[in-house]
């Protein structure tokens, strides 16, 4: 069996007396779309933060593309090809959409000469192409901070794609987006996965979205892995239903 693109093995993260993640093991195979669900406060975002190197983990190991990354820093991990989006959408507000996209190019190889260089025309073309892909082309010369929340989410997604990641971690990509736009976003996530070959690991509260999108779903509750399996199985799992209804 070949190793998954991302493997978190027995990850534990403790904040003071609170065990946010307790011995959590997940695997994201290359090319897949994997979902992560769980009630509020179940430790989903903490797991994301541990994976991308935002804070050190207390136990366990995290491997990405055959390499231990649990001791690397955020920017180093990002340069390896793992990019995350934020639950509270983060974009560069005082820069235009195109500038937001341009600066999101991969930064893996960057010497002093590259730092002082201009963006070649291909980068701008690609940036505009991706803005078209998420439906923001007409607004490309506006300041990103002037966009609506939903549009900022789309921009953040496009910026992540601009970075050419191998794995994209999305933290609630559809939160705060209107239902019509959600369908469009789901379609784009699937296309990014199929056409651009980006592996996706998605935190989502919207069950319709995650059941539709993911091939495999992990469910967390109280920091522990409660259940995992194909979406249909998870949906019928009594433990998952109980967790969401607050039986724990």
């Amino acid at each position: 069996m070949t190793e998954s693109l991302l493997t978190a093995d027995g990850v534990t993260k403790v904040f003071g007396g609170v065990v946010a993640n307790d011995n959590v093991t997940v695997a994201v195979p290359a090319g897949a779309i994997v979902g992560l669900i769980g009630p509020n406060g179940s430790g989903k975002t903490t797991l994301f933060n541990s994976i991308v190197g935002h804070h050190p983990i207390d136990a366990g190991s995290i491997r990405f593309a055959g390499r231990e990354i649990s001791r690397l820093r955020v920017a180093e991990i990002a340069r390896l090809g793992m990019v995350r989006t934020f639950q509270q959408t983060r974009i560069y507000g005082k820069m235009t959409c195109v500038q937001n996209m341009q600066i999101s190019v991969p930064h893996a190889r960057e010497g002093l000469r590259t730092m002082f260089s201009r963006f070649p025309a291909e980068v701008t073309e690609k940036a505009e192409g991706l803005l078209e892909f998420v439906g923001l082309y007409a607004k490309r010369h506006l300041l990103a901070g002037d966009l609506s929340f939903g549009q900022q989410k789309l921009l953040e997604f496009a910026m992540a794609l601009m970075n050419e990641p191998r794995l994209l971690l999305l933290d609630e990509p559809t939160a705060g987006i209107n239902p019509t736009l959600i369908n469009g976003l789901m379609d784009r996530l699937k296309r990014a996965n199929a056409e651009l070959g980006v592996t996706l690991f998605v935190i989502e509260h919207n069950m319709r979205v995650i059941m539709n999108l993911a091939q495999h779903v992990y469910c967390l509750a109280h920091g522990q892995l409660l259940a995992e399996g194909p979406p249909d199985e998870i949906r019928g799992d009594q433990r998952v239903i109980d967790a969401y209804l607050g039986a724990h």
Binding site: A75, R79, V83, R84, R90, M95, E132
Partner: protein
């Protein structure tokens, strides 16, 4: 494009003719370009990158001392020079220019090295912590310089006498600073339009996001400080010679005057814009000179009132206000014709 060229042309011609039209104000006009240099270099960090530095004056003073020491040690005996406060004979035009050129070059190099070392240590701090730390930097430098005999300690250092063969002193330094300001302006214009500019803007807008996207934040921050220090160090070398006497706390590491003015001018004109610091510096310098002339005795009070007016009524600066009022002038627009097919959003 042609309008931009016309603007640059007009400013250039006016600047070249200014010292000839107003020969009595050559030194003040030279200081005008010094102010422009102060504001432009401060804005690299404070405006474009969002790191308010109160310690940039450190590079100014460093540049002054390096240049003056090179000028002195090249042609004079240190002991004798200190004893007679620089009056040990005049240099020929060639000697003076050689010393000055070498001194300015080394000032630039020294400032860059200092910024690289200090930056890698201090630039891990963010926001107010960084500001306070840099404030300490400027003050400490003044105290330390005042204790080193080799550079004149507390009694300061005199720069070599300007040779008569080179014409009028004010005129010479006017064109020196004008050239340096132009070089700085266009270098920054080039840098801001590329990867460097966008990267430091990204750090200003959201440093955590920039890190999450893989940007080498520490590297960009350090390089930004080096760029700022380079031009400021060279400017410092020139200022030392223009003033003629380098006092460690009142001229070289003058945090309460030069150090504060840098920040004010950039904010007045509009920080984070290319022209903002230039406009701010011109307005500030002209106002200040007028205060000295017409409100003597009250000039500090008037300056303080001006500062309050700036901060209260123009928190975004003149150009920042203009940009907010007419965003389309700055290229922020919606393309109507492209809106239909784009759809969705």
């Amino acid at each position: 494009m042609s309008r931009t060229a016309a603007l640059y042309g007009a400013v250039g011609v006016a600047a070249l003719l200014a010292p000839l039209v107003f020969p009595a104000f050559q030194t003040q006009l030279a200081f005008l370009w010094v102010m422009v240099l102060f504001a432009l270099t401060w804005d690299v960090m404070g405006g474009q990158m969002g790191y308010n530095s109160f310690g940039n004056v450190f590079y100014l003073g460093l540049g002054m001392y390096v240049t003056a020491v090179v000028q002195r040690d090249l042609y004079f005996d240190v002991e004798e020079y200190a004893h007679v406060a620089g009056a040990v004979g005049t240099l020929s035009a060639g000697e003076y220019l050689t010393g000055l050129a070498l001194g300015l070059a080394l000032a630039g190099v020294a400032a860059v090295l200092a910024a690289a070392v200090l930056g890698s240590g201090i630039l891990g701090l963010r926001g107010h912590y960084f500001a306070i730390c840099t404030l300490g930097l400027g003050i400490a430098a003044g105290e330390i310089a005042g204790g080193i005999d080799y550079i004149g300690a507390g009694s300061g250092l005199v720069t070599p006498v300007f040779p008569d063969a080179l014409g009028r002193r004010g005129m010479f330094f006017y064109y020196l600073f004008f050239a340096l300001a132009v070089a700085t302006f266009f270098t920054l214009r080039w840098l801001y339009a590329g990867r460097f500019g966008l990267a430091i803007n990204a750090i200003r807008d959201d440093e955590d996001k920039a890190e999450a996207m893989g940007i080498h934040t520490t590297r960009y921050k350090t390089v930004a400080w080096c760029v700022s220090a380079f031009f400021l160090g060279i400017a410092g070398g020139g200022v030392g010679n223009l003033v003629g006497f380098i006092d460690p706390t009142d001229v070289a590491f003058a945090g309460a005057t030069f150090g504060v003015w840098m920040v004010l001018m950039a904010i007045l004109g509009g920080k984070g814009t290319l022209w903002g610091p230039v406009i701010g510096a011109v307005i500030f310098h002209v106002t200040q000179e007028l205060f000295w002339t017409y409100l003597f005795g009250w000039q500090r009070v008037a300056l303080g009132a001006l500062i309050i007016v700036i901060v209260v009524f123009f928190p975004q600066g003149i150009l920042g206000w203009v940009r907010q009022r007419w965003p389309e002038r700055f290229g922020h627009r919606v393309d109507e014709e492209a809106r239909a097919p784009g759809g969705g959003a």
